[in-house]
Subunit: 315 residues, 2 copies
């Protein structure tokens, strides 16, 4: 079951720009249904293969992160959990990564707009970043969630307990996501598809690329889940560092500062070893470096690590 | 090269209870030397196989986390980096995990002392936690570091830019740790050995167990490293979830609160699926569940995941 064999299709024009329980469903499905979604990229089509960095200033943030849907799932409501099985993602050929001024973990250090285009070859396990640097491709939906119970429009940028812009790179084909249901029918939407991302998405964007995505919905009644949960069923792509990693850390009393220090250390490392300039290194961190919390108990200092899989850089 | 074949030995009695640049070296070695250390467990011998939870109240925190050393490495000083190659760890047969009141990520929710003894079989890849629950064993030193440049005694509990109580479970045999040097001779010490731990060490203790550890030192001159870095050279044990994971998340504007919510969700999950009571589940999280930062850019809400490798629980 996957792209082309689902029971229903949500087309690209059936999208919306905020989470809102009062947006009429684009589709009503039964428990167990399979649905294929066409997504738009996170710019909502405002960037294209001819865009340059200067175009980022003209991007209307009211139109970013559109999501396709919503889908009303019959027989579910508040207190339930909607299982979303991710069946398949079909990549298209073009993607982009950008530094938007004011957005990202190190926004203060990277005030200039920066844009990179990616060539994504369907079926290829990597995408070329630079000579001797290839990023593992593992497509997933960055934004996947349900309408919040509070009436009115809610931005699609922050994630919430009902999901949304989770930007969790492990939600690849074969995984199952469990979302707390906030409203009758759940009102599911998906978008912001990514071809690759590291844990953290530190520069604020991944390899942004529109895709097709096939999903199956199942309803679990009366499961007291407060936040999204998910299941993976194998080592890849969550554990892609099979030949080891180089890890920089940050040590201190604030996890956010420690994450910033770990990424700054990795940018230095990539400059010294792979001869990347800081904006390039920052982007590579966003698409391929993973943040882990190594300890969070040795008062008053915690340790955050930034993990670069060894196989990515061969130059 | 490993236990029994090193050039030097630091014995168990050669330990100290604070980092202090003025503690005389127990040993002076050349660049490239190999040293075997006997470590004491994190209680400094205050707990033993006959201890019960009520004994935790009597533990003198002035004597916890002793480290064996210090070792003066010739030819290094401030601005350099000391490479510490972890050659081998030799486990002994007994370990412990405890909830100390007031200590740990969920200290407010777990006010009661709690103590578990572990039987560690040399050569076994797992340690039994309960019927149908086996924890992968991957020994490493919890505390490994150098004297800070500031004079006077410094607690061995928090880690610092020169290392210390990093509690980073990936520092297993075969990895290399890089520590910024703060003083002449680096003044290296190690202790607090752990048989297993999750990323986070959320209850505040791992499988605490004294061990032998063999290390090799190398000096790197003039490397502007601000915080510890390390290298791993294979998938295991950093990527132990080869058959997949169940992941709970926390979503919100504070990484610490998100980490707490993710672990609370995992404690609920382990209660519902593995029938563990909350203190047991909290301890299992500390020794086997990994915290990752999935996104830290979608203002104002971040996502932290708590990862339970699927193979650990079979009941």
């Amino acid at each position: 079951m996957g792209i082309g064999s689902c029971q229903h299709t949500i087309h690209r024009h059936q999208h919306h720009h905020s989470w809102d329980r009062d947006i009429p469903p684009a589709l009503v499905v039964a428990d167990g249904a399979t649905v294929e979604f066409e997504t738009t990229d996170a710019s909502g089509g405002q960037l294209d293969p001819s865009s340059i960095a200067a175009d980022l200033a003209g991007v209307d943030f009211g139109r970013v992160n559109p999501v396709s849907g919503p889908v009303f799932v019959e027989g579910t409501g508040p207190g339930d959990v909607l299982e979303v099985e991710i069946l398949e993602l079909a990549m298209t050929g073009w993607g982009w990564t950008a530094h938007f001024p004011g957005f990202g973990l190190l926004a203060d250090q990277f005030p200039e707009p920066w844009l990179k285009h990616w060539e994504l070859t369907p079926g290829s396990s990597t995408a070329p970043f630079a000579d001797g640097i290839d990023v593992p491709v593992a497509p997933f939906p960055g934004t996947i969630g349900l309408a919040p119970p509070t009436p009115g429009p809610h931005s699609t940028v922050p994630p919430r307990p009902w999901g949304g812009n989770l930007d969790t790179r492990h939600l690849t084909a074969g995984t199952k996501l469990y979302l707390p249901v906030g409203v009758e029918g759940a009102l599911f939407s998906v978008g912001d598809t990514h071809a690759a991302q590291g844990d953290g998405e530190v520069c604020g964007t991944a390899i942004e690329s529109r895709m097709g995505i096939a999903l199956r919905f199942r309803v679990h009644r009366h499961w007291g889940l407060r936040f999204p949960a998910f299941e993976t069923f194998g080592a890849a792509p969550g554990d892609r560092a099979t030949s080891g990693s180089f890890v920089t850390t940050g040590v201190g009393p604030d996890l956010m500062v420690a994450a910033r220090d770990a990424i700054s250390g990795m940018i230095d490392h990539l400059g010294a070893t792979a001869r990347l300039d800081p904006p390039e290194a920052y982007a590579l961190c966003s698409v391929a470096v993973d943040l882990r919390i190594h300890e969070v108990v040795d008062q008053p200092n915690w340790v955050v690590g930034a993990w670069l899989p060894r196989g990515i850089v061969s130059r």
